[in-house]
Amino acid sequence: MLGIAIINGREPEMQIAVASGKGGTGKTLLATSLMRVLASHGPVLIDADVEEPNAGLILGIRPCTTQEIYRPVPAIDPDKCNYCGKCAEICNFNALVVMVNQVLVYNELCHSCGACAYLCPQDAITEIGHPIGQVELTNLGDNGILITGRLNIGEAQSPPMVKAVKSMHRSAELRIIDCPPGTTCSMIESIRNSDYCLLITEPTPFGMHDLELSLEAATMLGIPTGLVINRWQDDDYTIGEFSARTGVPILARIPFSSKLAQSYMKGKDPLEAMPALPFILSDIIKQIREALS
């Protein structure tokens, strides 16, 4: 489509994470547009923003299949348990409380480490599945696959859900990860094992502040990074200095366009609203390839 050999047939698989720090800077726009531009490579787009997954909305598609995801939590066999209290003593998250003739399990506090079940002297603990959300899969035919993680309402721990969604289609030629905002454990889980991390920001003090934090996170994991400035208006703000200081290159500037904003609001293809966008994106991919070669 673009006349650029983006990833040749036999290239090793590649995983690109799209992260930002601050929310609302354009992660999903960038991730879904990259998927559209790279359609001929059958990309797998993983929406790892499991608390607020939006990639499917932006692509205007509904899931074909849905799979329930569970994580293990302890279940006590009252016939075997002698209420010795060992499990509560071991659990570092206070998920178990042992009473005179009852053991209370707080699933929401449990981190699913399995220590209690393994170490119970009476062998009275088994692990059962606690539902945490769904993984939705949409096959776009030749244009790739979208995999979305959706955390259940009221469920606090998102990293197990991120792990579940990332475990799908591992061996794909190209995986794009749409990450959650922030720099907490779920963002780390999302960018982990990526070959490259694209940090998208906006030229405001907020965007700048959160960009620094997200770069720190990617650097801790040793992932090469590049910057994309979104809603760029003839000025790099302080991002230029930041790039010079940290050595992280600015790969692209996506200009502010009310036409793009309008069409995005309607859920239309951004590549049509901004004719330059496909070229900006191909150039990003080219630079990533060069950085990784």
Partner: protein, 296 residues
């Protein structure tokens, strides 16, 4: 003392702008920033840090290589792939959950758990009142615990100094920090925008508020940018009896104020500022305070 929590689900819809504006209108308030890993309220309020405290939560395993006999039991049982064997058995702190399973199964007791410094929290002074905020270390868990700590400190300070309101800038998403920030809140103000993702994320965060029984109202930011989506938000809220007291128009002066790191209200003649002021009146009314002490 009433607690108002500004939420959105989706990031970048205007939580911080709205929370900082509320602070300006509230006669006597404390602000708190629950977005502990990417805290932005301080950028607008330019606070003067008065107190700085360390926040420790959770533990990380540590292997003593002198006593380790390379049996590999810990690495085989760890569910978080937090133990590598190359070149010697070691804990990967970024992956360690601090469960302590490894320390219990090590046959030579070579593994201990060490408390880790997870971040800092601060009490600061701003022109509109005190601010309680925090900075969670990169990749740290326990953001919910830090939110709870910030909340407790803000409440104690509000009680002590007899403030009417605690105004809270909430985190994005629906997970652990959001759940922690909802506990005990008197009202959630959900700010959304007329985009498909804005609507979707608002719906999820409304569900979370219902789940934890916190009353909610909705504010549509930049409502005039897409009529169809704005109508969809109104319909959704009407069906669920959720009030939309104000809608904020798209206003270039808001963007300009943001780039300058200023509050929208500092341009009090703008259309956006007028709407926010009327929203604040509705918030006060909803919380049973009919005497809106407005400064402007």
């Amino acid at each position: 003392m009433k607690e108002i929590l500004v939420l959105s689900g989706k990031g970048g819809t205007g939580k911080t702008s709205l929370a900082s504006s509320f602070m300006y209108y509230a006669k006597s308030c404390i602000a708190c920033d629950y977005d502990v890993d990417a805290s932005n309220l301080p950028i607008l309020l330019k606070p003067n840090k008065l107190q700085d405290y360390a926040f420790s939560a959770g533990e990380t395993a540590c292997i003593d290589n002198e006593s380790c006999i390379d049996c590999g039991v810990c690495a085989a049982l760890c569910r978080f792939d937090a133990i590598t064997s190359d070149p010697s058995y070691q804990v990967v702190p970024l992956s360690c959950e601090g469960c302590g399973f490894c320390s219990h199964v090590c046959p030579v007791q070579a593994i201990t758990l060490q408390e880790c410094l997870a971040g800092n929290w601060f009490i600061s002074q701003t022109p509109h009142g005190p601010l309680v905020h925090a900075r969670l270390g990169i990749a740290q868990e326990n953001s919910g615990k830090l939110v709870t700590l910030v909340k407790q400190q803000a409440r104690a300070l509000a009680e002590r100094e007899k403030h009417d309101y605690v105004i809270c800038d909430g985190p994005p998403g629906t997970g652990c920090p959001v759940i922690s920030s909802l506990s005990g809140a008197g009202l959630a103000v959900i700010v959304t925008e007329p985009t498909l993702s804005g609507i979707h994320d608002m719906e999820r965060v409304i569900e979370v508020c219902r789940h934890f029984d916190v009353p909610a109202m909705v504010c549509i930011n930049k409502y005039d940018l897409n009529d169809t989506n704005t109508v969809a938000i109104c319909d959704y809220c009407r069906e669920r009896d959720i009030e939309i007291p104000s809608m904020i128009p798209f206003d270039k002066s808001v963007i300009e104020a943001m780039v300058e790191g200023k509050s929208i209200i500092e341009r009090s003649d703008s259309r956006a500022a007028r709407e926010i002021r009327s929203l604040w009146k509705s918030v006060e009314q909803k919380l049973g305070e009919n005497n809106a002490h407005l400064r402007v």
